[in-house]
């Protein structure tokens, strides 16, 4: 597998997204076992300075495609450029983060390359023949499919938070190659008019290490402030059950579950959530689950590592105080 594992790096405002660093870290580990090289490809405008970061995180080669037309993600332009880069480099594997852009880009790129795609994977291994195999949740996490392919490259999108980030090694060097953005006019059919990023000091739900979630037990939108206080002490994201979303207390983008976001944080704190099968599907692979619920029979306690039976309006503020003490220690 000498041709390498290619990581399509995602950056926003010159910040490499965490999931890309996770992929570089894991690809490095696999490459070290198989004698593979790791190739990072980064697209954008004014992105030269990212090369050392990508080298430090594990890349042997960094391909930089710097062009004003690539400043913002667009399906057409990115597909056009990456299709050509992949055909030229002929990597063994192509990995992307399963982000909004990754989900949009990977299927189109795969179809153009005439290859398969393992989406939203939560596991990646090498088998005895040094082939990559992928594990991906199906039925919203109620089962897994284990996939591989004889077609090269093998392509996958990996769910954020699946792999740990290895600390960067500033001494690592990489070959840096600049390529021109060769965009086919026929690919420029969708025009991006506007990007609106909601200002938030909290992490993105799918990337968060800790999530504090509130359900129907929150009783109203105004009460989410107690969850936000708790979240801000420990740098957590705030989520919601569908009952809370359907009541109009939280926007759908905060919904966790089978018809919302699938999350796998280190710690998930469920407050006033009963633990319906559709909710569990979305957060059941969290490393640790804490439940706060006044009903001792609530199903959430059947999956929680730690549970407190009690009134969340009493328990949550107390917990915030306890966490403050821990953080200040």
């Amino acid at each position: 597998m000498a041709k390498g594992i290619m990581i399509i790096v995602e950056q926003r405002n010159l910040q490499v997204r965490k999931v890309s660093l996770e992929l570089l870290s894991e690809a490095r580990k696999i490459a070290d076992q198989t004698g593979e090289s790791v190739v990072a490809v980064v697209l954008g405008q004014g992105i030269d300075e990212l090369a050392p970061t990508l080298a430090a995180s594990g890349a042997d080669k960094v391909i930089v495609i710097d062009d004003a037309k690539l400043a913002e993600y667009s399906t057409g332009a990115y597909t056009s450029v990456l299709n050509k880069i992949i055909r030229k480099e002929e990597p063994q594997a192509v990995l992307l983060g399963n982000t909004a852009a990754g989900k949009d880009l990977a299927p189109r790129l795969a179809q153009r390359l005439g290859i398969g795609l393992a989406s939203d994977c939560t596991g990646m291994e090498i088998d005895s023949a040094n082939f990559l195999t992928f594990k991906r949740p199906i039925y919203a996490g109620k089962a897994f499919a284990h996939l591989t392919s004889n077609v090269r490259p093998i392509m996958a999108t990996i769910r954020p938070n699946t792999f740990p980030v290895t600390p960067p090694d500033a001494a690592r060097q990489a070959e840096v190659v600049k390529e021109a953005a060769d965009i086919d006019q026929a690919d420029l059919t969708a025009i991006l008019k506007e990007v609106a990023i909601a200002a938030s000091k909290r992490p993105e739900l799918t990337e968060a290490n800790i999530i504090v979630s509130g359900g129907r037990g929150m009783k109203g939108p105004e009460n989410y402030s107690i969850l936000e206080d708790l979240a801000d002490v420990i740098g957590a994201a705030v989520g919601a059950s569908r009952a809370a979303v359907d009541s109009g207390w939280k926007e759908h983008k905060f919904q966790v579950g089978q018809t919302g976001k699938t999350v796998a944080p280190t710690l998930y704190i469920a407050c006033g959530i009963s633990g319906a099968i559709q909710h569990l599907a979305g957060m059941g692979s969290s490393k640790f689950i804490v439940a706060i619920n006044k009903d001792p029979e609530a199903n959430i306690f059947n999956v929680a590592d730690y549970g407190i039976v009690g009134d969340l309006f009493e328990v949550v503020p107390l917990l915030t105080e306890e966490f403050k003490k821990l953080v200040n220690e």
């Binding site: 399906t75 179809q111 039925y139 990337e207 059941g284 039976v309």
Partner: protein, 255 residues
């Protein structure tokens, strides 16, 4: 305006997943529904027709039971149905399925193609985007608002932490995210009418395909290790909160 809506019949979200004797997902006794995201796609298609005139064709690929899903969409207000059903579909992956569905669309006049953001069964958020690529037309994923003017649309799409506004000319594919609309329920009159609406059945041979070009192979399926109930922390709220914080730091080591 000619509208094509892709719908998949999926397991009910309540379904518990078990494996059969051959290690595959067991569909026995499972309730089937229209993929929830596809309901938004159907609703949007019908609304576009109501505003702009034209026709809504619903296309589904699956077992013969998928007829029920198509009939439901017809009862909601779609005009025509197409069902691709073939034992050979067992041996196709997303690449092949997109090629097949693209072939179906090629024979139907289309300005707007609507699909769901993801199929909640074994779906991978791939088919609709691959289909657009197979047809060499643009696609906008995860749409929460669609405004149409003439032969152009402005779509608001959800991205991580925000939204994007994208303008495309027809024909184009849009995948529906929750929030796009509130799907209607079929009325009794609608259900009666649906029985008389045309529903065409197609096999792979009808479309000029022979099965079996797998790019991706599923080696096996597995089930997650069931979680066990952990520890309930007793005592007064203050004491329980303090105990929990201590456990999270010292035992779980997550804080």
């Amino acid at each position: 305006m000619n509208i094509v809506v892709f719908i998949k019949q999926t397991f009910d979200t309540e379904a518990k997943i078990v494996l059969d004797a051959s290690g595959k997902i067991d569909a026995n006794g499972v309730n089937l529904i229209i993929n929830p995201y596809d309901e938004y796609a159907i609703e949007e298609g019908i609304r576009l027709k109501e505003k702009n005139g034209g026709e809504v064709t619903v296309v589904s690929m699956g077992g013969s039971r998928a007829q029920e899903a198509v009939r439901t969409a017809l009862a909601m207000g779609a005009d025509k149905g197409v069902l691709v059903s073939d034992p050979g579909l067992e041996n196709t992956d997303e690449f092949g399925r997109a090629q097949i569905l693209a072939k179906v669309v090629a024979d139907i006049p289309h300005d707007v193609i609507l699909a769901g953001r993801i199929a909640i069964d074994d779906g991978a958020s791939q088919i609709a985007v691959r289909l657009a690529e197979a047809l060499s037309i643009p696609s906008v994923s995860s749409v929460i608002k669609l405004e149409v003017a003439g032969t152009q649309a402005t779509a608001t799409r959800e991205i991580d932490g925000g939204t994007e506004l994208i303008e495309v000319s027809f024909p184009a594919v849009f995948t529906a995210q929750k929030g796009l609309n509130d799907p209607r329920y079929p009325s009794v009159a609608g259900i009666m009418k649906a029985k008389k609406k045309p529903l065409k059945s197609l096999t792979l041979a009808d479309l000029g395909f022979s099965a079996g070009d797998l790019k991706m192979v599923i080696n096996q399926y597995s089930l997650p290790t069931p979680r066990k109930a952990g520890r309930k922390i007793d005592g007064e709220p203050a004491q329980a909160a303090s105990e929990l914080a201590k456990l999270l730091r010292e035992e779980a080591k997550v804080l």
